[in-house]
Symmetry: C2
Subunit: 193 residues, 2 copies
């Protein structure tokens, strides 16, 4: 018999998956460990046997989310082998799919907003993961033959980051609705230089 949340797997995996989902939906400070374990079909003691604290659970969730996102890049390569420009367009399309209605945005950015303590252990993890993502996009732009690759990658990054947070303020019909047009126009402009 399954459990709705996930196939009857090991408690640690269920906790991790459930926590990712609940942190994303309700925010990190908006959900307690009791609620997570209950939704995961287990209990608090088991959580603390696998994670030494809630902060460590947060960090593991961020790493897991980043790992999932990282796998998408493999799909780009698989769908458009060697064609870096096509992969860049695929990135735009994939990014725009993150802007569906009532999305809660980027987990790492949201965590950075919520965890305001400057010495919170998750902060350095967020920075590392975000920088890794940035370098991937820079490399993609460069390999696509774009001159100012860093500048285009950073511009696209800010546009997407802005779109994801804007959606949470004003919804999907706000400025973020024009994301694809903005991004494609930018890429065309950079290619023409």
């Amino acid at each position: 018999m399954t459990d709705g949340v996930a196939e009857r797997s090991r408690p640690r995996d269920r906790i991790l998956e459930t926590a990712q989902d609940m942190f994303h939906k309700h925010g990190i400070k908006g959900v307690g460990v009791d609620a997570i374990t209950e939704a995961a079909g287990t209990n608090k003691m088991t959580l603390y046997r696998h994670f030494e604290s809630k902060d460590e659970l947060i960090i593991e969730c961020l790493r897991a989310t980043a790992a999932k996102a990282s796998r998408i890049w493999d799909e780009f390569e698989a769908e458009h082998p060697g064609d870096k420009l096509a992969q860049l367009h695929a990135w735009v399309r994939k990014a725009s799919q993150l802007l569906s209605a009532d999305s809660r945005g980027c987990d790492m950015a949201n965590a950075a907003v919520e965890l305001s303590e400057s010495d919170h252990p998750a902060r350095r993890v967020i920075k590392e993961l975000k920088e890794a993502q940035r370098e991937k996009l820079v490399a993609l732009c460069r390999d696509a033959g774009i001159g100012q690759a860093e500048l285009l990658a950073d511009t696209l990054s800010l546009l997407l980051e802005g779109a994801r947070v804007s959606m949470q303020s004003v919804g999907a019909e706000g400025p973020s609705a024009q994301f694809v047009r903005m991004a494609e126009s930018l890429i065309a402009s950079f290619r023409a230089r």
Copy 2:
């Protein structure tokens, strides 16, 4: 004798100003009403005599912050009377000043991230205020003689929103460092069309 926080003014004003500051620095869920009243040199009962709940205090803080931001537009008009294009460049410069190190970003966007409950009373206020800001920027672009005023305004909005949240993830040396160059380049591009 003054009190560090603010001149000896009326408790309600001190609470409002202190709450704005503390919500900005530590996040809404990261600060309790006790801490606010203590920092404001008053007490919890006085707070609840002026605000019927913490949620209402949050809303009043957002309105106050938006009102402050609104006054900046008057400065643009005062510094460059009638010259809407100069005012647009002033907007870019002012926006870039929001990207100083260890900034905590936009209060309204942060609140939208923190208050994940879709029916939270602050959500509609955030949406209203953000939409008002958007329309101001659209009007500025249009009056500056730019053809696709809405698209430029939305692009600039997303860039700034993204820069402000990116800073909280990766710091001021990340993609947000190029904000001015991106924005100016965009304006030039739209003007050339």
